[in-house]
Structure formats: C-alpha cells, structure tokens
C-alpha cells in the first residue's frame, strides 16, 4: 500500500552519472581480456579489471552521496562511512587470513 499513500513531492534530482561510470565497465572488460594471459602484464590487467568493477559501484555511491547535504542526510552519510569501514574490516580479515 506504500505506493498508494500520497507523499510530499521529492526534492531536486540527486542522481548523477559521471562519465567515468560509463567508461569503467568497458575498461574492466578490456583489462579482463588481457588478464586471461598468465604473464606479469596479464596479472596486472586482471587486477585492474577486478578493481575497475568494484570501483564502479563505489564511485557511483560517492557520486550520489556528493549530492546529499549534511543537514538533511547526515544519517545516510554516516551510513556510507560505516559501510566503508565494514568493507575495510573485511579486507583486513582477508589479509590476515
């Protein structure tokens, strides 16, 4: 029933689409193709591809959060920071094996 309940009109459009969000997935695919080869260059390309697909989503989140204001969206900005902390803690767990 939520969609039947009238709500105050949403504010200005907050979603942005930086050009890098369009470029990074293509970069990832190109790097992944090179990364198939077991060679130092291939290894570097595979790591680049992996980082590119992960960075796309994080970049999208950062681009969105840039449009949020501390006054209205403090709790969501804190959630973004907390999410990054959880991911970093996961990486630490991974590194320590």
């Amino acid at each position: 029933m939520a969609e039947l309940t009238p709500e105050p009109p949403p504010g200005p459009r907050s979603q942005v689409a930086p050009r890098s969000l369009r470029v990074l997935p293509w970069l990832a695919v190109a790097a992944a193709a090179i990364g198939l080869f077991e060679h130092p260059v291939g290894t570097a390309a595979a790591v680049t591809a992996t980082l590119a697909v992960m960075a796309t989503t994080l970049l999208r989140l950062a681009a969105e959060a840039r449009g949020w204001t501390a006054a209205a969206d403090r709790r969501y900005l804190l959630a973004v920071v907390a999410l990054v902390v959880v991911i970093a803690a996961g990486a630490l767990l991974g590194v320590r094996g």
Partner: protein, 272 residues
Amino acid sequence: MEQLVVAVTAAAGAAAGVAGGIGGAVLIVPLLLLAGFDAPAAATVGLLSVATATAAAAPRQLAQRLANHRLAVTVELTASLGVVVGASLLTVVSEAVFRGVLVAAILAAVAAGVLGRPARGMEAAVLPSSAIGETPGGLAGAYGLGGRAVPYRAQRIPLGMGLAVGVGLVSGVTGTSGGYLKTPLMREVMGVPIKVAAATTTFASGLTAIAGLAVLLPRGAVAPPVAAAAILGAALGGSAGARVQARLPPRGARRVLAVLLLLIAGVLLWPS
C-alpha cells in the same frame, strides 16, 4: 583450461540468469562446484559476476532514476556485516554445509522468481514526472509510470535492517548476490514498490559483492587470470542475456530457469 571453464560458466550462468530475471551467481556458483572448484573459488567467481553485473547496469539505472541509494546504503550497512562474517566462515565450513546453504539459496531464488507477484498499486500516480527520484533526508521518493510519478516511502526500517543481516550472511557464505531475498525483503517487509526494490537491489548487490570480495580476494581464493575470466564471461553473458530477455516471455523464461535451478539443486544434494 581453468580460465576457459570459468569464462564459459560465468557467461552461460550470467546469460541464463539475466534472461530469467534473477541474476547469474546463483547459477554460476553451483555449476563451478559441480565442475570441481572448491567453495571459496566458486563463491569468489560468483561475487565477481555480481560486481560486474552491477557495474554494467550503472549507467542505465542512473538514467532511469529508479534505484534509491539511501535505501541501498541503509539496508547494505547491516547486510555487509553478514556478508563479511559469511565470507570469513567460507574457508572453515565443510563442503556439505556449503552445499546445504547453497541449495537453500537456490530454493529461495526459485520461490522469488516463480512465485513473485506482479507490480501492484500503480494507479495512484499523483505527482508530475519531474518529481521522479529520491527524497532528500528520507527513505522515500517517486518512480515514473506512464509519464507521471508514483510516490513511495519505505516502512519498518529497523526490521528490514535486522533481516538484512541474515540475507548478507547467506550471500557471504554462498557467493551469490542475495537479490532473490533482498528484493522480497524491500517489497514485502519495507513496503517498497517492486520496480524500485529491484533497481535498488541491483545497486545494493554490488556493495554486497565488494564486501565479500574484500575478504576473499586477499586470501587468494582465485588466481588473477581466473578473476579476469569471470569478469569477461559475466560481462559478455550478461549483455547477451539482457538482449534475450527482451524477446522472451518473462513468466516462461523464469519457469525454465526455475526447472534448471531445481535440477542443479538436486545434483548438489545427490550423494557423491
């Protein structure tokens, strides 16, 4: 040879999963397990396919302005805790436990895909189309329908966040996006319209994948060339699946995929 198996499996899984509307990892992970990969490797490839799919969908999703990023961050905050714990457990749980959780995830995906109800309550379009998007400062917004905007507001936030821990745990242990659980959670528990819930889940699944990969990649669950094969396969397969999806009757495609998933679940449970 390992790269070829992963690339073909990721492509086939992503194509079938996207065409069937439930994502590819829930198909890719069991197929790799049946191909002889260990659980951490299969889960890592699954999460890489999820991350690739989310990255590929980003430009289209931003243009549609359907996903609610504030809602995604809110749900994912607790879900990512579950993902990190689940992915950490992956190296210590037995393969029997892994298979059991994976079969449960497959059954949940089948239930969500086949039994999912159609969109509802679309008639109350009361706002101009310029209102489409997120509402600053709240878990609300409006989505487009027939040239107008339908408002919505998420409800039962604490309950949704609590249940998201369990969803994340399943995602972390199985290496799947958990979208088959997250979309019903947002829709049925938090009262978010299905179009917004599905789009938000796609974005949130990317964050799920990052949290899981942050644990698994440093542990060397897969070699870099295998990771590259997973990304390449998922990107090509996902793209092909999206084209096929437009030509298939959605209900029929989901039923075919459901039968395929049930067969895989049966093989996973079959004593080796």
